[in-house]
C-alpha cells in the first residue's frame, strides 16, 4: 500500500492478510486511490463484504464503517443499510464465489431494483480461502482441488449477467490495468444506481500453481496478454478471441 493512502486505513492494521502474488492488495490500493481522487469522506462510506479473501479488503482495513457479513449475503445487508439511510455511500467488495455463486440471486435482484450501490467483484476464478475449489467463474479445463481432471462447466460472463439484470453501469478490468480501474471505480461511485465492476485479480496460491503458472508474475503476464479492450475485440475473429478476456465499460450510466 502506498504511504500516501495510509490515512484511509485503520491505525490498528499493521499488515496485509493476502498471500504473496495476490491481486487483492493492488485492488485495495486502487479503490482507496479512487476515493482519494474523488475526495469522498470516509465518514460517508459504508463498506460491506461477504466471506472470502476479497471480503478482507475492506474489513478490518478501511477506516470507515465496515460490515463483514455472511457468505453470499453482502448485497442483501447493503440493501437494508442503504434503503434505511440513503445518505450512506455504500460499496460492496467481495469475491466471485461470494457475489455470483452463493450470492448470485441477491446480485441480479439488486441490479434489477437499481439499488444505489457500488459492487466490486474481485474475480480470482477460484475459491481461495477454502483451498482452491472450482468456482462458477473458473475457465473451462481449469484444474482445482475439486476438478483434478479439469473443469467441465462453462464460467459465467459476470458482466453480461449483471447487464441482463439491468444495471446502469457495468465494467470489467484486470488489476494489471490500474488506471482504467481507478477511472471505473470513480465512475461507479459517481453514477446513481446499481454499478458493478468485475476485477480480475490473480490467485497464485490456489489457481496459478495448479494451472501451470510457475510464479505469480506468470499469472500477471497471462492477464496482460489475454485482456483485450472491447474496441480491440470488435476486430478479432471468434478464433482469435478464444481465451481472451474482454475488458472495458459495457454500460456507462445511460440507463
Amino acid at each position: 500500500m502506498a504511504r500516501d493512502l495510509e490515512e484511509y486505513l485503520r491505525p490498528e492494521v499493521k499488515s496485509t492478510p493476502f498471500c504473496p502474488g495476490c491481486g487483492h492488495g493492488t485492488l485495495m490500493n486502487l479503490i482507496l486511490r479512487a476515493i482519494d481522487e474523488l475526495k469522498v469522506s470516509m465518514d460517508e462510506m459504508l463498506f460491506v463484504s461477504g466471506i472470502g479473501c476479497a471480503a478482507w479488503i475492506p474489513s478490518p482495513n478501511f477506516n470507515a464503517d465496515t460490515l463483514h457479513t455472511l457468505h453470499g449475503r453482502a448485497i442483501a445487508f447493503a440493501t437494508g443499510a442503504k434503503m434505511f439511510n440513503p445518505k450512506l455511500k455504500v460499496m460492496v467488495i467481495s469475491g466471485d464465489g461470494d457475489l455470483t455463486s452463493i450470492g448470485g440471486n441477491h446480485l441480479i435482484h439488486a441490479a434489477r431494483r437499481n439499488i444505489d450501490l457500488t459492487v466490486i467483484c474481485a474475480n480470482n476464478m477460484i475459491y481461495g480461502m477454502t483451498g482452491g475449489q472450482v468456482a462458477s467463474t473458473s475457465p473451462l479445463g481449469a484444474i482445482s482441488s475439486t476438478t483434478m481432471e479439469g473443469n467441465i462447466y462453462r464460467p459465467f460472463d459476470l458482466c453480461k449477467l449483471v447487464l441482463g439484470a439491468g444495471a446502469p453501469y457495468v465494467a470489467r478490468y484486470s488489476v494489471t490495468q490500474p488506471l482504467s480501474l481507478v477511472g471505473a471505480i470513480k465512475k461507479s461511485l459517481t453514477t446513481h444506481g446499481f454499478t458493478f465492476i468485475e476485477v480480475l485479480s490473480p490467485c497464485h496460491t490456489q489457481f496459478g500453481r495448479r494451472n501451470r503458472y510457475d510464479s505469480p508474475s506468470d499469472m500477471l503476464k497471462m492477464l496482460m496478454e489475454n485482456c483485450v479492450s472491447k474496441e480491440q475485440a470488435e476486430h478479432l475473429s471468434k478464433e482469435e478471441l478464444k481465451d481472451k478476456i474482454i475488458t472495458g465499460e459495457f454500460s456507462d450510466g445511460g440507463a
Binding site: 460491506v48 464503517d65 460490515l67 463483514h68 445487508f77 437494508g80 443499510a81 440471486n105
Partner: protein, 383 residues
C-alpha cells in the same frame, strides 16, 4: 432506563383486527421503520399491511428475493439505525436461521415473527402447528440465547410485538414472536391505547460496541454514519469488532457474555400467567393458541369442583424453569397439550419433580377444549 412513552400512531380505540394485522400495527406502534420479507403462507398479511401502512409513517418496506435476503437486509438496516422486523412461516423460518445466528453474535436487535404452520417440509401451508419452538432456540449453529414470546390472542399479537421490540433493544438480541396460523388468522376486537412505551437504543459514542466490563453486560450500540467507523463482523471479535478467530479467550468471553446477558436476566424477561395454581392437583402448562382451549377446559372442570390449574407461558425462551420447578413440587400431575410431537414438555420434564403427561396433536387442527376436558377427566379419575 431508556423507556419513553410515545403517542400511538393509530388513534386510540377498539379495532377489529386479524392477528397478522395486529402484528403489523404493533410493529409500527413500537417505531419499527424497516421491514423486509418474502411472501409465505400463513404470514403474508403482515407484509401486506406493512406495505400499505408504512406510507403513513415514512417506513421503508422491501419485498426481497427470498428469506435469506429478508433477514440480512433487516440486519443491515438495524446497523444503519433502524428498528426493523421480518415475518415468515415454515420453510422461510428455516432459511432465516443463518442470519439469526449472525444477529445473535453481532448482538443485532431485531424482531422475527413466525406464524407457525404444520411441517416438516412444505407440510400443510395453511394449517396450524407449533412445531418450531425448539428451532427458535436451536435453529442456528453454535451456542446462543434468544428471546421467544408466545401470543394467544389478537390483543397479545399487538402487545407482544411492541414488547418484542423493547426486549430486542434492551438486550441487543433477536426476539421471536412465535405465533401460529390460528392466532394469525383469528379476528378479534383489540384495544389500542393512546400511549406506547418504547425502549430507545442506548448509544454511547466512543464506547466499545461489542464488549463490557461485566460478564453479562449489554454494550451500547452506535449506527453507521455516526462517524464511529464501526467494524461489524459475524466472526469472533473483540470489544471493538476486530476479528480474533483463533483466540480462545476472546471467543469464550464473547460467547459466554451473549448467553449470560439473557440467562442472568431471565427473571426480568420471563412472563407467565397463573390460574388456580394454589390448590391445583393437576396443572395444565400451555402456551399460544392451545392455552385458550386449556383455559376453557380448566374453567369447565372448576365448575365441577375439580382441582385443575393453568400455567400459561407467555415467554417460551428463556424457559420458565423456576416456576416449573415450583409447581412441579406441589402438583400431582402436569398436563402439557401441544400442537407438535412434544417440544416444550421436554423442558418441563427437566425441571418438574411430578409426573408430566403429554398430549400431542399434529394433524393441522387446533386442540379443542373438549379434547383437553376429556383427557383431564381421565387423569383426575385415575389419581
Amino acid at each position: 432506563m431508556k423507556f419513553e412513552e410515545i403517542a400511538s400512531t393509530l388513534p386510540p380505540r377498539t379495532y377489529y383486527f386479524s392477528g397478522n394485522e395486529a402484528v403489523a400495527e404493533g410493529a409500527i406502534a413500537a417505531n419499527c421503520r424497516y421491514y423486509a420479507g418474502y411472501p409465505i403462507t400463513p404470514s403474508s398479511e403482515i407484509m401486506e399491511r406493512i406495505s400499505i401502512r408504512f406510507k403513513d409513517v415514512n417506513g421503508v418496506f422491501m419485498q426481497m428475493e427470498d428469506e435469506l435476503a429478508s433477514i440480512c437486509s433487516v440486519i443491515g438496516a438495524v446497523w444503519a439505525g433502524a428498528k426493523a422486523m421480518t415475518a415468515t412461516s415454515g420453510p422461510g423460518f428455516s432459511l432465516m436461521q443463518e442470519g439469526i445466528g449472525y444477529a445473535a453474535l453481532t448482538e443485532t436487535p431485531l424482531v422475527i415473527v413466525n406464524i407457525q404452520r404444520a411441517g416438516p417440509g412444505t407440510g400443510q401451508a395453511t394449517r396450524v402447528a407449533s412445531g418450531d419452538l425448539m428451532q427458535a432456540k436451536w435453529g442456528s449453529h453454535g451456542d446462543y440465547h434468544i428471546i421467544a414470546l408466545s401470543p394467544w390472542s389478537v390483543q397479545e399479537m399487538y402487545d407482544q410485538t411492541i414488547e418484542a421490540f423493547n426486549l430486542a433493544e434492551q438486550y441487543r438480541v433477536p426476539v421471536f414472536i412465535m405465533g401460529d396460523e390460528a392466532t394469525g388468522h383469528l379476528r378479534e376486537r383489540i384495544e389500542v391505547k393512546a400511549k406506547v412505551k418504547v425502549f430507545n437504543r442506548i448509544k454511547k459514542l466512543g464506547a466499545p460496541p461489542f464488549g463490557t466490563d461485566q460478564v453479562d453486560g449489554i454494550p451500547p450500540m452506535p449506527a453507521f454514519g455516526e462517524g464511529e467507523k464501526l467494524l461489524v463482523t459475524g466472526s469472533t471479535h473483540n470489544e471493538f469488532g476486530f476479528r480474533k478467530t483463533d483466540d480462545p479467550l476472546v471467543h469464550s468471553k464473547l460467547v459466554n457474555r451473549i448467553n449470560n446477558k439473557i440467562l442472568n436476566n431471565q427473571e426480568r424477561i420471563i412472563k407467565t400467567e397463573s390460574y388456580h395454581l394454589d390448590d391445583a392437583e393437576v396443572i395444565v402448562v400451555s402456551y399460544g393458541f392451545t392455552a385458550r382451549s386449556s383455559l376453557y377446559a380448566m374453567d369447565e372442570l372448576r365448575k365441577e369442583g375439580k382441582k385443575v390449574g393453568l400455567l400459561r407461558l407467555k415467554t417460551i425462551w428463556p424457559f420458565a424453569d423456576r416456576i416449573i420447578h415450583q409447581i412441579g413440587g406441589k402438583a400431582k400431575k402436569i398436563f402439557v397439550p401441544e400442537m407438535n410431537r412434544g417440544q416444550i414438555i421436554g423442558e418441563i420434564m427437566k425441571y418438574a419433580a411430578c409426573e408430566v403427561i403429554p398430549y400431542n396433536q399434529t394433524d393441522g387442527e387446533i386442540i379443542h377444549p373438549h379434547q383437553i376436558i376429556r383427557e383431564l377427566r381421565y387423569l383426575l379419575n385415575n389419581m
